[in-house]
Amino acid sequence: MTAEIQSNDTSPSALSKMVKSIGLLRESPIAIFGLSLILFWVILAILAPVLPLYDPNAPLEPFKFPMSEARDGGLYWLGTDHKGRDILSRVIFGAQQVLIWATTATVVAYIVGMLMGVIAGYLGGWYDEVISFISNVLLSFPVIVLYIIIITYLGATGFNIVLAVTFASAPGIMRIVRGLVLDLRTRDYIFAAQTRGESSMYIMLVELLPNARGPLIVDACLRLGYTTITIAMLGYLGLGLPPPDPDWGKMIAETQPLGSFAGHMAVVPAAAISSLVLGFNLLADGLREISMKD
C-alpha cells in the first residue's frame, strides 16, 4: 500500500533532496563539526580491512608506548596493550563494532517505539492504555538494571544488546511519537483520509508517521550517542560483545588493574568514545537549531 502512493510520485529524486538537506547543514557550524567527527569514525571503520594495520588480536610486544618502533620495523602509533596487541588497530576495528551495533540497536528501537507510539496515539482507547502501561513499567526500571538482567540471562551477543537497547529506548521513543501523533491526528488531511475510507494502517504509516519525522531525526541522533555509551558501558562491565574482538568499553576495563602504569591503554579508547558521542550530540544540536530557524 505504501508503495502504491509512491508510484505516481515523480517529484525531484531522493538524491537531489539529500544534497539539498546537506546543503542546509552548512548553516550550522556545530552540525558540520558533529558530522565530521562521526564521518571520521565511519570512514576509518569502513577502511579498516585495507589500512596497513596489525591484526587487532595478534599478541606482538606488550606494553609499548605510543610512537615506539616495532620489531618488524613498523611503528606502534598508539602503543600496545598488556597482551601486546596494537591499540590503533584495536580502536579502529572496535569502531566497526560500535557503529554497527549502535546503529542496528537504535534502528530496531525506533521501529518498535514508533509503531507503539503511532498505535497508542492514533487508535487510542485500550491500545493506548496497554501500551502506555507497559512503557511506564519499563521506564520505571533503572536502565542499568534492565541491561544487566537481559544480558546476564540471555548472554552477551550482539542480538541481545540490540534487544536490551530496544527495551530501554522504545518506551521513550513511543512517548515522543504518541505526543506528535496526538497533535497530527486532528489535522484535516487525516480527516480527509478517513472520509475516503482509508484503513487505520494506511493512515498511521503513510499519512501520520512521515509528518512526525522532524523532531524524530533530532532525537534519533541523540539516541545514537546514548547507545554508543551504552555499548561501551556494557563492554566495560564485561557484558559486551564476546572476546577476543576489540571493544572500546572492554579496552578501558582491561586497563583498570594496571593503574597508572599504562595510561595510554585507557586514554585512547576513552577519547574514541567521547569523540563519537560528542559528534552525535553536536549534530543533533545543529539539526535542532536549523529546524528552529525555519
Partner: protein, 698 residues
Amino acid sequence: MEEQTPILECRNLCISYDTRGGEIPAVIDFNMKVMPGQGVGIVGESGCGKSTVALAIMQYLGSNGYIKSGEIFFHGRDMRTMSEDELRALRGSKIAMIYQEPMASLNPSMKIGDQLAEVPLFHEDVTVAEAKERALALLEAVKLPDPKRIMDSYPHQISGGQQQRVVIAMALLSKPDLLLLDEPTTALDVTVERGIVELVKEISAEFGTAMIYISHNLGLILDTCDRVTVMYSGEAVEDGTVHEVFDDMKHPYTSGLFASIPLPGADKNERPLVPIPGQLPLPHQRPKGCFFGPRCAFFTDGVCNTDKVPMRPVPNEEAHTVRCARFEEIDWAEGDHEAVSVKSVKSGKVVLKVRNMKKYYEIKSSSVIAMIRGDAVKTVKANEDINFDAREAETVAIVGESGCGKSTFAKVLMGLEEATAGEVILNGEDLANVTVQKRKAQTVGHLQMVFQNPFDTLNPSHSVGSQIARVIRKFGVEKDPDKVRAKVNDLLDLVKLPRDFAHRRPRQLSGGQKQRIGIARAFAGNPAVVVADEPVSALDVSVQAAVTGLLTEIQNELRSTLLFISHDLSVVRYLSDRVVVMYLGHIVEQGTTDEVFSPPYHPYTEALLSAVPIADTSVEQKQIILEGDIPSAVNPPPGCPFQTRCPRKIGSICETELPPLKEFQDGHRILCHLDDDVFESMEPVIVMHEDGDVVAVT
C-alpha cells in the same frame, strides 16, 4: 482641531526583517497620523505588513526585525530615542495592545482579578484594594455579567468572548491614550464579534481613546473607524476618511477588494464577484514600480513599472491620498477583470434526504463524586431532529456559529460517526448507521468534503499529484497508472492550476492554491454531494472570490449538490439556493435564500443578519446585540435552545416547551413560539439606500 498634536505619527517608516535570505523589507515608506479620540483602520490581506506596523509602534519587533528608517512620534517624541525603561513605562499605560487570541494575552494560572490589578499596581502608586476596585469597575464597563465572579475566575473558566472583554478591560485600566487592536474579533463568532465591536465603539467615545484598528474585514473598519489606510505588499496604497475610501476609492487594489467581497448588491447571476487575479508578491519578488502592477487591470507599460510610485493627494478631497501613477485617468468601466461566471442551473431530483437525524454523544466522567451521584454519564445532544432535503445541482447552506452541531452533522454524513436515530438517505440508500469503512467505494466517492483550513488540508509529506492519484485509485475511478495520471491532469485543469503542480509539495503552494487542490480531490470521484466546511474563511478576501467562484462553477458543470457550511451570511446569501440555520443542534429556520433573508425571521436569524459586518456605506443594518454566549451543548437550556439570548423571548413558555415548527410558505419553516402577527410585522434587517430610495435587501 488643526492645532492639536497627533497622539501618534509615523513618518516615512521602513521596517525590515533579517532572515536567511537576507534583508526583507516588510513595511516601506509608511505614513500615518492618529489624532486624539480618532479611530484609524489599517486594512490589508495577510502579509501586507499591517501587524508589523503595530509591532513597530509597540517597539516589539523581535530579534530580527528593526526600523530601517523613518520615525514614530508618540505625543511629539520620537519613540526610537526612548530608553528601554521609558518604553516599558509607556507600554500598557499609554499605549495598550489587544491581540487576536484572547487566551494568549491572559496568564492561565492567575485569577482574572489579580491579573487586572497588576496593571495599576505596576504603573501607578496605588494600594491593592484600590487596584482591585478599579479592576471591578472596568469589568462592569466592558459589560461582563457578574463581574465579581469573573474577578475570582481563571481565564479558562470563561468563554472566548468574555476573555476578549477582560483583555479590553485590562487594556483600558491605565487609561491609555492609544489602543492598538490587531484583529481583535477574528477568533470569535459573529454574534459575539458584534458585541465586542459595539463595546469598542462605545469605549472610544466614552474614554476618548484613540484607536488603531487592524483588520482584514472591510465591514468592521466601516463600523469602527474614522479614517482608513489600505495596505498592499508593505505599502500604504490608499489613505483617507472611511467615506472617501469606501465611496470614492481611487486605487485599483481597493476597488478590486470591494469587487471581490459579496456585498448585499452582489448576485451570483446578475452581479457576480470579481476576483483579483494572481497573488500577493513575496517581499523579495516585488515588481519594479507599482507593486500591484502585475495584478492590475489598468496596468500601463512604461508608466506603472518604471519609478517608485509616490502617495499623491486626490484633488478636491482633503487628506485622501493614493499610491497610483494613473488614478486620474482610470476609466473604471473599461478594464474590469473577468467576472466569475456562474450559470444558473435548475435543480433536479432530491439526492440527499435527512429525516429526524439525531446524534447524541455520551461523555463519561471519571470523577468519584460524579460516580457516587450517579451522573457519571452525560449526554451531549449535538444534533436534534435534523430534517432537510438537498437536490441535484443545488447549493444548500448550513449556517451557524461554533457549537451549533454543523460539524457533527458533517461527521455523520461522511460516515465517521453513526447517527443515534433517524435516516440519512443518499440516492435511496440509508447511510445513517453505515460507517465509511463499510460503505462501497462508489458511495464514498459520491460523498466528499472540502475542508476549512488550507494549511491542513493536504499532507505536507506527499506531492500534490500523488495525493490526488490516491483518491482516484481509492474510489475505483481509474486503475491503470497512465489513466490515473491523465485524470490527475484533468482535475488540475478543472481547478485551473498548471499541470506541473502535480510534482509540487503542499508547502510550495499558496493558501488559495492548496484549497483548489482540496477541491480537485473532493471532485475526483464524481461526487453526488460535496460538503464544503467553511472552504474560504481562512483565505484572503481577494482569493476567496476566486475559490468560491471555482467551486460553484465545477458544481454546476458536474451537477453535484453542494452543502456549504458557513457562518458568513454574506457569502451564504451570494452562493446558496437554500439555507438551513442551526443553533445548538436544532434547525431553527430553513427555506430558500430569499425566504430566510427576508422577514419573517427566526429571532436568531435576525440577530445573525444584523451581526454581519457589511462594507457598504449605503447599507443600514438594524442593531440587534445578543447578550451572553452560546450555551454549551453538554448543558443546553430547557425549552427553546435560543431562549437564553433571545431578544424576542415572550415568557415562560420559551423556557419550558420546545417551540413548534411553523410553516410559512412552501418549505420555509421556523422553530419559534412567536405569534403569527409578530412574524408578519417583522421588518427587514438590512436596508440599502439607493438613489434616495430605500430598498429592502432580500
